[in-house]
């Protein structure tokens, strides 16, 4: 009797756990890891190898980079575009994310649908849509002319501005979703507490909401910036002839069958993205924010 009761207590006190073999989790992710290895990691590695082995072991392809004025201009265009697009999505996306979190559930769902709807449409379709809107005889020019605001159509399409507008539009969900997810996690009691302690709505935002949302801001910015770096279709369709992005330069080199140089450019693009991810994760404000929020 006693032993029965004792063993009963002992089991009740123990945390119930799923039985796991030592290799369980490893086996579960194995198929995906294998898939990525064969169809992603190996080709990328082979391509990167090509930048240093074609036609023989050499760093010549990289040595060419800093001296190539085309590469330097393209790199600067790429970084500038990514920066402008990142800032643009944040400025436009933050209020939307805030509205999404604050609104009644029905309104939240409507906003979410509006944010996600374009997300489910192909980038190609959306880029063509912008061509229709921004073209010389596009909707915007026609409307402005009809309103008598301009006499000759503005040059909107095939400019850096067009690239920025279209990319901001395409990348907005990537900014809004991480922001909304972080904003939603902010405890409403904190906002009430701040108001009760004498902070007006602006100060509640400035001193509580904004600092607590910094991890979301950083995540959104990183996502948008890194995605912007590799944009190809949109700048190719709506961008100006002089606004070549790095991915377009790579495509050009591939067209010229200059594989080793294309590989070196790809490696550079990858390195810039990785460096940025590393840097962002080390950002003191982000780390402080994460430290404060993490339990």
């Amino acid at each position: 009797m006693t032993t029965l009761a004792e063993s009963g207590i002992a089991t009740a006190g123990r945390q119930p756990k799923l039985p796991t073999a030592p290799l369980g989790p490893l086996l579960l992710v194995a198929p995906l890891v294998l898939y990525l290895l064969v169809f992603y990691a190996l080709p990328v590695a082979a391509m990167l190898m090509r930048s240093v082995t074609d036609p023989h072991w050499t760093l010549a392809n990289y040595a060419r980079l800093p001296a190539d004025p085309v590469f330097l201009r393209v790199l600067s265009t790429t970084l500038t575009t990514a920066a402008v697009v990142t800032i643009g999505t944040m400025v436009l996306g933050y209020p939307v994310a805030l509205a999404m979190v604050r609104a009644r559930p029905v309104v939240t769902n409507v906003i979410l649908a509006v944010v996600l709807l374009p997300f489910w449409t192909s980038v190609l379709v959306r880029s063509y849509a912008w061509m229709v809107l921004l073209g010389r005889h596009g909707l915007i020019n026609e409307a402005l002319t009809a309103a008598g605001l301009i006499e000759t159509p503005l040059r909107l399409l095939n400019t850096a501005l067009a690239t920025h507008i279209a990319m901001i539009h395409i990348l907005l969900p990537y900014a809004i979703l991480p922001l909304a997810s972080v904003l939603r996690q902010i405890d409403g009691a904190l906002l009430r507490a701040a108001a009760g302690l004498g902070a007006n709505p602006w100060r509640v935002f400035r001193q509580i909401v904004l600092p607590l949302s910094l991890p979301g801001v950083a995540a959104g910015m990183l996502l948008v910036f890194v995605l912007s770096l590799g944009f190809y279709i949109t700048p190719a369709l709506v961008g100006g002839p002089r606004d070549t992005m790095l991915s377009m330069l790579i495509a050009q080199q591939v067209d010229l069958l200059n594989w080793p140089y294309a590989a070196a450019l790809s490696a550079t693009l990858l390195a810039v993205a990785l460096a940025l991810i590393g840097l962002t994760l080390r950002l003191p404000t982000l780390r402080q924010a994460l430290r404060g929020v993490r339990r």
Binding site: A189, A194, A195, L197, G198, L212
Partner: protein, 366 residues
């Protein structure tokens, strides 16, 4: 002090709630609450979840807008004033400390909003930390503190700007029993030291009884009874209050008549006397109530004047540390609970036939 400060400089604020109502969609959360909270008093809103106590508190703080009625602080209506200009201290159940700010920055937050300069802020933060016995914790972040310490920081933050009214929404709800008891004492001490008005919300009747000057028992959005803890315990006006505050035995009966300030009722064959209240007439149905600790086992059939007496069978005996709790079946089938100090006499076994007696003056009609 900034402009728009609705509270003056002296003592505790007097708060009056007049016909306060709050409906969410069509559901009434608070249905016509009128209360005069006196300057410097410790008033507790006590009730089960959904009784409207927290909603009432949120309306005083300004986080909820009343559907009808008025809230006045020191005679001035505050309904149209936003929370950040009401100058009311507030402590939340989950502490609501700002996770990205240190203890000092958290406590300094209300001072910063009021334009107090850094040096003065540091001085007042240190003073207020000393008051909650947490000196030296200035540089910590909230997550580096235990639950009890976090709640003390929250208290310090709610008091540092010297509000004249402090609202507390189940501030000890998330803490374990021992910590809760030590913080209850601390909150009582702070109330005595500061002399400001405290409005405290809890569902824990024991907490309400030990801490409050007065308790407003709330049920279904209305005040069921308002009074000092002892009044509520000894003279509950309804079955709800009698069973919500402490434990009660209920004996349904038919009025036989009245004598010398007592009502005499027939409870399934047993004659029971209770303190007369109202104007019961012969044949009326009444519900009599008596506290379990007022019952005792009568060894001999005592039929003293002013005593009620009933035969019963023990159905269960539970040892609960300082007290022993007996579940009984009274003659006529009414279930009874009797509590006696566990040091007393021999334990009675289930099945034993016993006589129970208690004073008629401990019996009330509810």
């Amino acid at each position: 002090m900034p402009r728009g400060d609705v509270l003056g400089e002296v003592a505790g604020a007097a708060v009056s709630l007049v016909g306060l109502e709050k409906r969410f969609d069509t559901v009434g959360a608070v249905r016509g609450v009128s209360l005069e909270i006196q300057s410097g008093e410790f008033l507790t809103l006590l009730g089960p979840s959904g009784s409207g106590k927290t909603t009432a508190l949120m309306m005083i703080a300004g986080f909820e807008q009343p559907t009808a009625g008025d809230i006045a602080i020191d005679g001035n209506s505050v309904v149209a004033i936003p929370p950040y200009r009401r100058n009311i201290g507030m402590v939340f159940q989950n502490y609501a400390l700002f996770p990205h700010l240190t203890v000092a920055e958290n406590i300094g937050f209300p001072l910063k909003q009021r334009g107090v300069d850094r040096a003065e802020r540091n001085r007042q933060v240190a003073e207020s930390l000393a008051m909650v016995r947490l000196s030296g914790y200035e540089g910590r972040y909230p997550r580096q503190l235990s639950g009890g310490q976090q709640q003390r920081v929250a208290l310090a933050r709610a008091m540092v700007f010297r509000p004249r009214l402090l609202l507390m929404d189940e501030p000890l709800g998330a803490l374990d029993k021992q910590l809760r008891e030590s913080l209850q004492i601390e909150i009582r001490r702070l109330h005595a030291e500061l002399g400001i008005t405290f409005v405290y919300v809890t569902h824990d009747q024991e907490e309400a009884l030990t801490m409050s000057d007065r308790i407003a028992v709330m049920n279904e959005g209305a005040v069921a009874q308002l009074g000092a803890p002892e009044d509520l315990y000894n003279r509950p006006v309804s079955r709800f209050v009698a069973s919500f505050i402490g434990e009660s035995n209920f004996l349904p009966g038919i009025v036989r008549g009245t004598e010398n300030g007592f009502v005499v009722a027939d409870c399934s064959g047993t004659i029971v006397r209770a303190v007369l209240s109202g104007n019961p007439r012969q044949g009326d149905e009444v519900l009599l109530s008596v506290r379990p600790e007022r019952l005792r086992f009568a060894n001999i059939a005592s039929d003293k004047a002013g005593e009620n007496c009933i035969g019963a069978t023990v159905t269960d005996a539970v040892f609960a540390g300082e007290r022993c709790r007996y579940l009984l079946q009274g003659d006529g089938g009414v279930p009874l609970v009797l509590k006696e100090p566990s040091g007393l006499a021999a334990r009675r076994a289930p099945g034993a036939a016993v006589e129970i007696a208690w004073a008629a003056s401990d019996t009330i009609t509810v």
